[in-house]
Amino acid sequence: MKYLHLTDEQIQQYVLEKATCTDEIIEHIQACTHCKERVEEYNLLFRSIQQQEKPVFDFDLADLVLQQLPKPQSQPFSEMWSSLLIIFISTLFCCVIGYLFGKNLVILFGGISPVFMGLIITTVISIFVFLYIDMNKSYHAKMKALNF
């Protein structure tokens, strides 16, 4: 039998996880009044902690939070229709321009060499791509800033 008292860690282990204690610890506690009292103190402490009143919010949390949640909207649907409308109007506009000024445009750009024309088209497409990337980046940055 141990003549030294058990450590606090061993006492806590005995109270909370008795099954994991060695026989030495269990025998010591059964024989030692001092350690038995410490076991009792811990038992009392843990019982009292469990009996503590549970805190409750003094307001209706669910109500407050639900008011702030984004309402389900048919936004994606209407967004899709507006995108289609813009594409339709743009295409129509291009067709009208082509129909009205097609001949003039052929005369205007007919004299330009294919290499030079390719250069112009590449430049225009590149500018649009860069503008799109920049707009997309700034959109995501703004959305992130708006996040909680």
Partner: protein, 196 residues
Amino acid sequence: MVADQPLVEMVLKGNTNAFKTIMKNTEGLVAQIVFKMIPIAEDRKDIAQDIYLKTFQKLNTFQFRSKLSTWIAQIAYNTCFSYLEKKKLIFPGNDIDDNGQGEHLLEVLHNKIAPVRNETENIIFQKELSGILKTEIDKLSPVYKILITLYHNEELSYSEIGEITSLPEGTVKSYLFRARKTLRNNLLLTYKKEAL
């Protein structure tokens, strides 16, 4: 009670009532964390709302690797911790009296508390103890307080507590041991002062 997965799926499909159910299921645990970690009562309302708004916003990222309540508790813990950091309210745990003086005082106390009490005395003692205990728990550092609460009140496992607090399981066990010892020592010392 409806399982986590169907509830989350319902919320993701736009059912706010399902989110209300999630809130009702986890409000007790969140309240424990908020009350234990946030000392300023006026700030608790905003923080509690913030926790659930974050939960709602991040719900689509929940992977079902843990219980939903554990995941929400983790959000609650992190939100409270960020608040404490922002307000510079983080302070280390109350140091354990390891210089032996505390143990000596406790030796003396054993003789004062140990005598057998009758039923009425026991009830009074329990009430007194409960009041003192509440004060002593409040004096602990936020991390110690939350560990004690999650283990003893919410009966969570070491691994669940580790998940919530992002602490390794071994650290949770060691902090819990120190928190209990601190609490026991402080409790006995306070009881002695009150008894004198």
